[in-house]
Amino acid sequence: MSATRPITLLIAALGGEGGGVLTDWIVSAAAEAGYPVQSTSIPGVAQRTGATTYYIEIFPVPARELGGKRPVLALTPGVGDIDIAVASELLEAGRVVASGFVTPERTHLIGSLSRFYAMDEKIAMGDGRFDQDKLIKIVTDHARETLLIDMDALAKESGSIINAVMLGAIAGSQRLPVTAEQLEAAIRADGKSIDSNLRGFRAGLQATRAKMPPAKQLEKKRNAPTTPELLEHEVSYSLPALTQPTAIEGVRRLIAYQDVAYARLYLDRLRALVDADAAGGTPGRLLKEVARQLAVRMSYEDVVRVAQAKIAPSRMRRIAREELRVKDEPFSVHDFLKPGIEEFSQLLPPFLARPILRYSERKGWLGRVYFGMEINSTSIGGYLRFLMLAKLRWLRPHGHRFKQEQAQIESWLALIAEAARHSAELALEVAECARLIKGYGDTYARGLANYRSIEARVIRPALADQIPLGRAADAVASARTAALVDPEGESLAKCLSEIEGQASFRIAAE
């Protein structure tokens, strides 16, 4: 299980720029939204040998959903741990990079293009100023994403202090689990210079939104080649922060599994659920689970995937190093495959696969006839066999299994969206039911059958209000747990009839 980590925010501001007030706004907005939050500040030194830094951690799950548990939040920023770095001045942005707080894998940097010259720059007898372009390059190269606007100019234009503009930029970047409205409410609640602060806030918000790649523009360019970088970038502005790490993982997996277009489909499917997810109150909570399950479902196990995994150089390296502890001894790895008629038909187009499957079923071959083989994957012939199978990847989207899987995925997603209209909890439980569908052969068939009976006997009745909403999520969760208790399905059958018994009792009572 991957634990939820707090969202970390590091703010670098100069003295008098109101970094402390900015921190208070963010903390009170997060607290108002119910998130556990903590902040600290480290005073800088006069004459610009260091900015005053503020550090905030927000745990992106509301306290009420933690069941009395309290997250442990850190008081000091950790190198490599910062999600968002904000700097009110360009050199300070560079200084945050130099201190190691900006990492290309994680950190989104929001900085100002304005300069406030440091002592060393000013005392030079000629031009001692730092090269602005160099600074911009350093900052952009080191961050995962950089957003640079002239915050000082925006503050002056709007007649506000730079901290309000910074808050607007933070809101516009959509990296925090709090919305722009909630941050705006924090300014109002604070009660000081509300008008000028709101002007600055909106100026920062608008400037940031104008800089963010608008979703529509990208969609128009649908025909232009999509690259993996573009997709990952799209994740970072179109999905809630809580969902992003999982979605990026999913995008990478599906590009390796099939191609960029398939990962594009994954992202489109997730984006279609953004509203349903937001309706639940905690942006990203439902979507994170869907992003995880959807990536696994879309990369379903078939012969191509197995072949890809079997000949991956990283696999052989792992076996040699970790399992065999090879120094320079010769070794070999032997794999066992036992595909049946169904596995062979998966890659065939439906019009060929269906008659073959029907015929085999009549003959009683399904589940009985297999082609067992042992392949020495470290031999040339064995390697070539797997390579050939892995190369069949292009056939996959035309295959019978692909069509089936996509239809099932679509119906599961529609079910989640419908459940989200009833309750966020129910939607989450429906999403998690995808966990039942996994494995190969009989295991897969059993999981799918279990999923279908839960859908027909618990989820559908719940959506039709035959099971009270308060109990529906629990009912789905217990049916799912029961399905995983024994392979014979006795627990599930018992659980399902209990749920139905309760439902009919209720109807009779009314």
Partner: protein, 118 residues
């Protein structure tokens, strides 16, 4: 068997050590193999895949390479995750030459060419 192998190793004789394993990426965490085989060396470990929450099957150090788990999984058509790995200690020149040739050619074909084994 282990004592016998240790003796052979010391005398410089050729010894093949066999181990069974499970591929993390291919195992889906259903554990049918464990329910069927019941081997003490076959257990579960946390999935290395960030997208899968169920623990995956694994063969631990104590495996003696009897092959029962793989056979059972094969007979029951469970899954293709199992593999058998063999390492030859005190290899003769034929073992070495064949291995080197295979690694070379597979390396050319874009596969694992033995680069990190040493």
């Amino acid at each position: 068997m282990r004592a016998e192998d240790a003796g052979k190793l010391e005398r410089g004789e050729r010894v093949t050590r066999t181990r069974y394993g499970v591929d993390d990426e291919i195992c889906t965490g259903d554990h049918s193999c464990i329910r069927l085989s019941g081997c003490p060396s076959l257990t579960v470990k946390p999935s290395t895949d960030p997208l899968r929450s169920d623990p995956v099957a694994t063969v631990i150090e104590t495996c003696v390479g009897c092959g029962l788990c793989g056979e059972v999984a094969h007979a029951a058509v469970l899954c293709p995750s199992f593999y058998r790995a063999e390492i030859v200690r005190n290899a003769n020149w034929r073992d070495r030459a064949l291995f080197a040739l295979r690694q070379k050619v597979i390396g050319w074909l874009g596969g694992y060419g033995g680069e990190a084994a040493a």
